[in-house]
Amino acid sequence: MRRIAIAWFVLSAILTPIVVAVIAPTLPPGNASNASSGQVFDDTVLFGIVTPIAVAIAVYFFYAMFVFRRRGPEPQEGVATRDNPGVHIPWLVGTTVIVLFLATFGTAELADAGAGGGQGPDPAFKPSGKVLPVQVIAQQWEFTYRYPTYGGVETAHLELPVGQQVAFHVTSLDVIHSFWAPKLGVKADANPGVDNIAYVKPEEELSFEIHCSELCGLWHGYMFDTGQVVSPSAFGEWIHEQQRVFAPATKVLPKYATHYFPEPERRGG
């Protein structure tokens, strides 16, 4: 037991800092937004907890494999061990501490404006300051985007200003979809008749992929798009160009709402 503990301690002391300081921070989704960098931080903490646990399992596994391997005839089965407080108590205390810590840590991290997840129509965790609302409208098989603070213009592509807190209002016109922008650390289900709100603040200018992450029919695999995070001035130019280009469509759009129940459905059976 002592040799196992020493091996575990030495290996954990070597590997945990390497995992936490070198490997985990480089893993996806990166640091393109507050949500994504928050997820990287969360993953780093989790890796920091799980590395000693994984090392303990590996050390015990290999120790048992080599030290306890049978060399002679089949040994007689020993007396059953009914209790071993030296194992039970540390196990119960250790797992309880870890679970309680993770619950507290996870809740605290969610308090950072929801950590990029969809929070439903009445978010429990809201960011402070000015927020740019962007409606994400899912339909088989394309996302379109509506900017209520710019005359309700709807666009075929998503563009966001860097450094601006954004509130995605995600909804669907037909079946269940899911709006997923991995680099931004945002994922929110798109349900018909529901306004699912997710917050994010892009921190750098970049192109990012958008995917539907809910199996939604024939072309689900093709339901993707590329969004852009640009400077505030470039965003201003872009959105005004969109208002000009899509003026005919904007005239016939329904008034901006949190969700829509489109009519007609003349063909529906």
């Binding site: 409208i137 339909q139 088989q140 098989w141 394309e142 379109t144 709807e154 075929a156 016109l173 037909d174 079946v175 029919g217 024939l218 072309w219 093709y222 280009v245 899509f246 005919p248 469509a249 016939v252 759009l253 329904p254 489109p262 009519e263 007609p264 459905e265 003349r266 063909r267 529906g268 059976g269």
Partner: protein, 220 residues
């Protein structure tokens, strides 16, 4: 009590039936509509002539759902939704639209996007958009940012075509537009109008089936 021979024969016949059914299913799954080329009209210019019918009827095989047909270079109407056009070329598209109005769920898609000049002509009249409730279908290639709403035949129109083959003496709308193709590739196209009669909210059947209201634009 049956003999072992009879039991064996029953098992063999049962396995054979299941194998044949699986074979039919796989063959059906792997089969796709034929790829039909647009007609060359000039150097780097082709004409793609399509028609939409509310029910393709006997010419389109089974089931007779709403679908597209394409005119091949020999002038024959072929039931297919895989259209081949050249890369880096002008493609003049004419759609003879025989189906009725259904309406768009998202009115944003009533505006023409991605054609030359962002316009189309409907029955000879140049337009940028149509009233969303008059849409019958859309010809949309999202990867190419192409959306063309296709207006339906009005409900009160006379001599409507209920089932294919439809001909130009029957009530129809004529939609023309031109696109400029870029790099070679296989781009999927779809209809955004839930036009599947008899299916929940109009989204099943032909809306989910390549060969009906979904297909590919093969740019080669």
């Amino acid at each position: 009590m049956r003999s072992n021979g009879a039991r064996l024969a029953t098992v063999v016949v049962g396995v054979a039936i299941v194998a044949v059914l699986i074979g039919f299913y796989v063959a059906n799954l792997l089969s796709s509509p034929p790829t039909v080329s647009a007609s060359q009209t000039a150097s780097h210019e082709v004409q793609l002539t399509l028609k939409t019918e509310a029910a393709v009827g006997p010419q389109g095989g089974n089931p007779p759902w709403v679908s597209y047909l394409i005119k091949d270079p020999e002038g024959n109407w072929i039931h297919s939704t895989i259209f081949k056009v050249p890369a880096h070329s002008l493609v003049h598209v004419t759609v003879y639209q025989f189906d009725g109005e259904s309406g768009l769920r998202n009115p944003f898609l009533s505006q023409v996007q991605g054609t030359v000049g962002d316009r189309m002509t409907i029955d000879g009249k140049s337009l940028r958009s149509i009233p969303p409730e008059e849409a019958s279908h859309t010809f949309a290639v999202p990867q190419l940012n192409l959306i063309v709403p296709l207006p339906g035949v009005h409900e009160e129109a006379k001599n409507q075509c209920e089932e294919g083959p439809c001909n130009l003496s029957q009530a129809h709308r004529t939609i023309d537009f031109t696109i400029h193709t870029g790099e070679p590739g296989r781009y999927r196209w779809q209809c955004f109008v839930p036009c599947a009669a008899g299916f929940l909210a109009g989204f099943g059947g032909p809306m989910q089936t390549i060969g009906y209201m979904d297909g590919f634009l093969e740019v080669a």
